[in-house]
């Protein structure tokens, strides 16, 4: 018989997972949204949402894909906001500031890396997400499928198309 008191609550699990993987989650968000302050905001907001409202017991292995997915959701909202702002011909002042800050950080990157990241940013959302999960986090196709809620086959085809598009954009033949 399991002593339920020995099983950490899901809230505790979420909190521990966030603290253990805080850096990884912020890096994931950074690669999606492009600037650090926004990435940290996304992770904090997701943490607040999950910590306050999570009510199911779950093992860390079950929570991790969920948390990554929630961070990606937060990134999607940010990117959509920016899309709206750009579409309206305006950019929120805070976002303009973070973009400036981001631009300063980009100086630290080589021209080649900047080109690659710029090309990546122009890919459709799902391709971008699949490539980041695969080539930054090193997730397997099955793990990416679990995070994005798609089949492993779709992960494979999406990654292949994303790489091909990236290669074309970068002027490569591979």
């Amino acid at each position: 018989m399991t002593n339920r008191r020995l099983v950490p609550s899901a809230s505790q699990t979420v909190g521990a997972l966030f603290r253990e993987h805080h850096g990884e989650l912020v890096r994931l968000a950074l690669l999606m949204v492009g600037d650090l302050p926004t990435a940290e905001d996304v992770v904090q907001d997701v943490y607040a949402s999950l910590h306050a409202r999570w009510s199911h017991s779950a093992a860390p292995d079950e929570v991790r894909p969920y948390v990554r997915a929630a961070v990606l959701n937060g990134c999607r909202s940010v990117l959509r906001r920016r899309g709206v702002a750009r579409r309206a011909g305006v950019l929120h002042s805070a976002e303009a500031r973070t973009e400036t800050s981001s631009a300063e950080n980009e100086v630290m990157l080589s021209e080649d890396r900047r080109q690659v990241l710029a090309a990546l940013a122009r890919l459709p959302r799902r391709r971008r997400e699949v490539l980041v999960l695969r080539y930054y986090l090193g997730l397997s196709e099955a793990e990416i499928a679990a995070v994005l809620g798609i089949s492993p086959g779709t992960v494979k085809s999406t990654a292949a198309r994303g790489l091909a598009a990236l290669a074309r954009e970068l002027g490569e033949t591979s």
Partner: protein, 439 residues
């Protein structure tokens, strides 16, 4: 591993290395954070408190600055608006209300405003998202009764397994308040993650019994434009039955999307604008009107008699041409046979901005009937196709037009060649507002 993979991995690692664990903003309850409370406070609370305090410190100087900016801004706006736009005055037959989405992300809301006075009649908050999920808006539409409105939301559950589109409605009561949002029959659509790169569209049939809207058909592996609204769904609001129209118009290497969908006057067909753009170079179809960029657009008619099928079952009515260089938006014309187009023309500059926008009535064979409105770059026009929105009220008689000018958007309606600005206090939308509107 290919060269592309190596370069990608290297670039991602370098970018990620900008994050230093020792400099991260601490999460509540962590060792680096201030004394953790017994019950952890929401991590955003402290940040919000700091913001509130900072806000208080800046309140007085901000108020003074805002007063100055207001005075200067009003003067600026008055002098920069298109010279032939006129202050709004409602006319018989025009809708009583217009609705727009204000704010972004979780703070977005719908504001219902009076066409004649500009006063905010009601505010409608978005539906509550699933735990860890998110809700974003896609589109708005008005029903013929002048009181009911439909909203297309995109709902992301936290696990992303079943992204959904929710079609919801609300009405304005006789006392001027808004009823709660409810999902319409058949309005919960699974596995339709909406258009990330292009926005959705929503149109109510002239008799108010059906809704047509666009979604992203990204489950159509191998025959899709992922991230783009490239599929049309029609819902019968009485029964919840759905018709799906997708596929058939994809071109290799191009992103296909549907920037506009509307009903013909008899309610038996849809008109939609199909758009093809470079897949990689311009994934948002932003700069594809620039010299050298690829953008094709065609207006199609789609009979709904078959109850669903391929988009290519329809008939192309009008193609982008030298006469109509950039068809930015297309609607069914008020008499049921003509088209109403928003067309950008002239010579695009290197940024892909076109110097002239016209709204014109065009016959299905492409011959021009009349030009309802014209504005040029000299009058402040922004000139990008993605910055032009044209929609009509359910009668098809009254056009609602918005377009970018220097610094933002103006919104208004057209009558007898005159652009009547809607009575929004800020002629230029505030930076956190969107251009999702209907009436």
């Amino acid at each position: 591993m290919t060269t592309t993979e190596q370069r990608l991995r290297d670039a991602l690692s370098a970018k990620a290395a900008q994050v230093r664990d020792d400099r991260l903003r601490p999460l509540p309850g962590s060792a680096a954070a201030p004394a953790a409370p017994a019950a952890p406070a929401a991590p955003g609370a402290e940040r919000r408190a700091r913001r509130r305090q900072a806000w208080r410190n800046w309140l007085i100087p901000l108020a003074a600055a805002a007063s100055v900016l207001l005075i200067v801004g009003v003067g600026f706006v008055v002098t920069r608006l298109p010279t032939h736009s006129r202050p709004v005055t409602s006319q018989p037959g025009t809708p009583s209300y217009f609705v727009r989405i204000v704010g972004t992300g979780p703070s977005n809301r719908i504001e219902v405003q009076s066409v004649s006075t500009g006063g905010v009649i009601a505010t409608v908050r978005p539906p509550k998202p699933p735990t860890g999920g998110a809700v974003d808006y896609e589109a708005l539409a008005a029903a013929p009764d002048d009181r009911t409105f439909y909203v297309e939301y995109e709902v992301f559950p936290a696990n992303l397994r079943v992204p959904q589109i929710w079609i919801m409605s609300f009405s304005i009561t006789g006392s001027g308040s808004a009823t709660p949002l409810t999902i319409v029959k058949g309005g919960r659509i699974s596995n339709q993650p909406g258009g990330q790169q292009t926005w959705g569209n929503l149109a109510v049939s002239p008799d108010g019994t059906k809704l047509a809207f666009t979604v992203d058909s990204s489950n159509q592996v191998g025959n899709e434009s992922p991230g783009y609204s490239d599929e049309i769904i029609v819902i019968d609001l009485r029964t919840g039955e759905q018709e799906v129209w997708m596929g058939g118009l994809y071109r290799s290497g191009k992103q296909f999307s549907i920037p506009d969908v509307s009903w013909t006057a008899d309610g038996r067909s849809l008109l939609f604008l199909g758009q093809w753009c470079d897949a990689v170079a311009s994934p948002r179809c932003d700069g594809t009107s620039a010299p050298g960029g690829y953008r094709d657009a065609q207006v199609w008619s789609l009979s709904l008699a078959a109850g669903g099928g391929s988009l290519s079952d329809g008939q192309p009515l009008l193609r982008q041409s030298a006469r109509y260089p950039v068809i930015a938006q297309a609607l069914g014309g008020p008499d049921g046979s003509d088209l109403t187009l928003a067309v950008l023309s002239g010579q695009a500059d290197r940024n892909g901005l076109w110097p002239q926008l016209t709204v014109e009535q065009v016959s299905a064979d492409g011959s021009a009937r009349s030009v309802d409105y014209r504005i040029s770059r000299a009058q402040g026009l922004g000139g990008s196709p993605r910055q032009v929105w044209l929609t009509a009220d359910p009668s098809g008689q009254h056009l609602l037009l918005s377009y970018a000018v220097d610094g933002g958007y103006v919104i208004g309606w057209l009558a007898n060649g005159t652009f009547h600005r809607l009575p929004i206090l800020q002629p230029y939308l505030p930076s956190d507002a969107t251009i999702v509107i209907a009436w």
